[in-house]
Symmetry: C2
Subunit: 149 residues, 2 copies
Amino acid sequence: MGHAHAKRRLVELMEQLRAKSRKITGPRQKILDVLRNSRHPVTIKEVFARMPKGDCDLVTIYRSMHLLEGMGMVKRFDFGDGVARFELIDGLDGGHHHHLICTRCDRIVELEDCFAQEMEKAVSARSGFQSVTHKLEFFGVCPICQATP
Amino acid sequence: MGHAHAKRRLVELMEQLRAKSRKITGPRQKILDVLRNSRHPVTIKEVFARMPKGDCDLVTIYRSMHLLEGMGMVKRFDFGDGVARFELIDGLDGGHHHHLICTRCDRIVELEDCFAQEMEKAVSARSGFQSVTHKLEFFGVCPICQATP
DNA sequence: ATCGCTGCAAAAATTTTGCAGGTAA
DNA sequence: TTACCTGCAAAATTTTTGCAGCGAT
């Protein structure tokens, strides 16, 4: 059960920014680099911690993440602990997938398949809502934690 | 598509508290009352706003909500806006259900069925995780907002 | 009488905003 | 040059913690 997506090329990401006349700056490249090299969704503070001190202000990461989210380049997740997490979107389908989070050690497993695509249609049909999307995350106790009570 | 659960009797909730030697106080009764009368998950501030001023401190609501969550009497939701929402759990099965949130006007629709119960088994079998649960919410544009661009 | 609960105050943690200067295009 | 972007500082939100006193059992 490896991670669900291949690394996106940095050039490609730059191009997406350029297309919306957004500038390619040092901080942004570094933020994108951290995102590219993260196997799981990362918090703002984690992004901050993963770059050499002084490379980029914390506030800039907040602002960039908003921008990237608005551009559909990044997806926001919430694992129920009140901290936002972000993951680079890849592929044309958006690389839609879900996570399985261990409630004891916070280990994260990426689930490759999406179970819920048909559900959206059913929900839409019944409710009259359009452009229905969903957020689905799983929680449980991982094998390692099961062994250590 | 009405709401998925019947109102729980206050006495029943009190009993649950008593069983764990938690005290039945004025603020707690008022908090439970707000929860009982809420058709959708409510934020801490909403609970606060829905009781006569001075009836209960905001901090007490935070603390009570933690307690109730820990006791399995209340469930926490996150609709992606960075604010926690809470709903009373009812029934033996926990009244498991999902929500459909309009991304324009924040209207909430309660979905009566749970689509995802079997998914938990599949996820558990594949990953080796145990006690797998899930959180699933849907987002879309409601009929009213569709009519007003 | 005991243990738990509450309010108030203060702190912590996360996220947003204002502004003056700097930089990519 | 002209938008856009950044860092710093400050503020706004949301949530947590300490403590002394009150209250349910």
